[in-house]
Symmetry: C2
């Protein structure tokens, strides 16, 4: 949380002129997170050089703070021994994230190099599909029995080494690891030492390991608890999701939604350390899909070619009208996509949403259409004004409904709603808007 200006003079500058000893001194003055930030801003090759300048303990801490794709880059440039030590030092959920970034052969070698206990913890996490909370849970938690006293629970907390992700919320489990509740260290501390945990514990919200990671993270952040227990279908405890991991999951999801709202796939790694070709690859598929849909607009215009030839003036308003449609649609889509993401709207609300968006679209359309009518009448003539005004009303109502319904439709067919947002809807509204425009023009102008 230091001043960003701190990096005005960074070790990279020394590296450019090749002064490694100077770079080592400068790196030593940075905190773990400052070093990690630095490594995420430079090229892969340079990051590897800087990482080798770190002391052993600092290297482990910095490695832990790096994003998984950068960890994966480093792993390929370090010797096997170093890699093994670094991998062992990660939490099982962080190991799972790194494993997703490296080739399968490397992943197998990494996992087989772990101690038996850590290997089984890691495999437990890796057994759940990506996108589920099981894949992001931590198997290191503190559990107490309902018959334990507050004193015993406190002694358990004191006796722990630092593998447990948190001691501040303990899981209360019956025999057979069935979840009975949770108890906070605070309650334990403040109560009489002889009180049984059963009297102190609270009912626990819990999530299933197969639940969607984003939904579980959102619920935890909403409730502002420190953790939520992760169980199997028989309510046996498998692990915990901690608040900091939940916040990180939400951040990753926001990244993904932001990228898709702009019609690209998320980079999943820091921008400046990503190559030009990789950035292009993250965008090209959607660009092609959208361009192919864009060919629709050419076909629509071919249908109305004679109308266009008789009144070339109509062509002048094409970008303005498709622009208004696209913008109205993308406003509706982004509002509804976000409402879906935070749980304010569910797929079966589609009727409510449509009703709401048609009305919003009409309100906006009448306002904008009136303006369009006045302007076009003044600059051109009354019939042109009527065409433009009417078209805007219809396009706004259409675009708002399409924009509002699309994300719900996407969710219903299990596609990321953000995929159907702005660029997709813009393209769809372009073609539909042109049909509306030329149909109205033919009717009003009698051509």
């Amino acid at each position: 949380m230091s001043d960003p200006q701190f990096f005005e003079k960074t070790p990279t500058e020394s590296l450019v002129i090749g002064d490694l000893s100077e770079a080592t001194v400068q790196l030593g003055a940075l905190s773990t997170h400052e070093t990690a930030d630095l490594l995420e801003r430079v090229s892969t090759r340079r990051a590897a050089v800087l990482f080798r300048l770190l002391g052993k303990d600092q290297a482990a801490a910095v490695f832990d703070a790096l994003e998984p794709p950068i960890q994966a880059d480093l792993i390929t440039s370090l010797c096997e021994d170093e890699v093994g030590t670094l991998f062992e030092s990660l939490d099982p959920d962080d190991r799972a994230k790194l494993v997703d970034e490296v080739p399968a052969a490397v992943a197998t070698r990494l996992i087989s190099g772990l101690s038996a206990e850590e290997r089984s913890h890691t495999n437990a996490v890796l057994g759940y599909p990506a996108g589920t909370i099981g894949r992001r849970m931590s198997p290191h938690f503190v559990s107490v029995h309902p018959h334990d006293t507050a004193e015993t629970a406190l002694a358990k907390a004191r006796a722990l080494d630092d593998t447990a992700e948190t001691v501040y919320t303990m899981l209360v489990t019956d025999t057979g690891r069935t979840l009975a509740g949770v108890v906070s260290l605070r309650e334990v501390l403040m109560s009489d030492p002889s009180v049984p945990i059963a009297d102190l514990m609270q009912e626990a919200d819990s999530v299933r390991a197969t639940d969607d990671a984003e939904a579980a993270a959102l619920a935890l952040v909403d409730r502002a608890h420190l953790l939520v227990p992760v169980t199997d279908s028989e309510h046996h405890v498998l692990g915990i999701l901690t608040l900091d991991d939940a916040a990180q999951i939400l951040r990753d999801e926001a990244d993904e939604d932001a990228a898709r709202a702009g019609g690209a796939e998320p980079l999943r790694r820091p921008y400046l350390s990503t190559s030009v070709l990789r950035i292009a690859r993250s965008r090209v598929v959607w660009l092609l899909v959208l361009a192919v849909s864009g060919l629709l607009t050419v076909q629509v215009l071919e249908i109305f070619e004679t109308t266009l030839e008789q009144a070339v003036v109509l062509a002048m308003f094409i970008p303005l009208l498709t622009g208004i449609g696209g913008n109205t649609g993308s406003q509706a889509a982004s509002t509804v996509t976000r409402a879906l993401a935070v749980g304010d709207v569910r797929t079966r609300d589609v009727g409510l949403v449509l009703l709401r968006e048609v009305r919003v679209g009409l309100v906006l359309g009448v306002l904008m259409g009136a303006l369009g009518f006045v302007l076009a009448t003044l600059v051109y003539d009354m019939p042109t004004g009527v065409v433009i005004g009417l078209t805007i009303v219809c396009i706004c109502a259409m675009a708002a409904s399409v924009g509002g319904a699309m994300p719900l439709l996407a969710k219903a067919i299990k596609v990321d709603p953000a995929v159907f947002s702005t660029p997709f809807i813009t393209t769809f509204c372009d073609a539909t808007g042109l049909i509306i425009y030329f149909s109205i023009a033919k009717a009003v102008l009698g051509i």
Copy 2:
């Protein structure tokens, strides 16, 4: 975290048929968060009716869990006594958020109704401008002295009532409330009781009360600590920012960015409980701004009117070409906006970003342009193919650079980068793209 299907039969259905006693029974079966979720999905009037059915303790807990705009709605429909009790039960930072939602006269009355101590806490938070971390900090924290022993610190933690937001991380302060460090309850518990805190404490990251709230929240989530101390310019402790508040701040910011990326202002309240006119209001300003910029495209086309009359076929490609430009631009903008939001890119990286985006744009442009050339040549003729192909290359390079540079420019002039994203860039690229298109057409076709 219960099954969403749980709400299939909710108390609202009973309310429709007017059976209040049945609704009371059903409400009693819901948890605090389920009740809050329900109140956020119904109209203001219905929410007020349901809220009155809650028991006194449940009412306070549910009120605390509601979003500030819904709290503000309820406040206007409750009697002064109830309002006073509910307001007093909130944390100072939550009070500040609610105060922002109600008219100034109501806010003054609410604050003057508080006890002297709570009033001073609340005013301390309200003294910082919106958007700073001071406005979101909690003044309730636990502090110990470096000379205290672990035993004393533990006794302090045990003696606390439940006003402190957390006891798990204690601030270590010298005389005069100067921040010396932080110590975790875990360290305190595990150490020998006679060890002084000075030997256990760690150096603390801290943020200034006047720092940007989003940046501070992001740094806290990145570091996965439970809290970060908030200080004044002389390093005196004023309060703390807790991890759950930080996660909430990031969620609100993601809401805002998502709305602006779609060219609307965030609703700042649950979608289904927001009236049609309020939704329209959140969109109309941007829609008008974009439409006025869209008039630029009409003017550009007027300049090229003779070209257009001589080759009406050129009009057919207008939506396709402006679409490709808009999509390329919005991809670049959303990537860079997000990279800025998460701190991967800073404003002074504008050169690096531009260089990167021009190259990405050229890669994409050459690929798409080649396709466009082949298709247009096959369907129309070779000169048309050359015009379309060349135009796509130029438009992609232009749009990617504009899309990449705009968010940085916005940040530099202290405007939210998300404002300049998709719709704004689409409109800008439309006009520029048309100039490129017709200039190339005139040169190649010789008209």
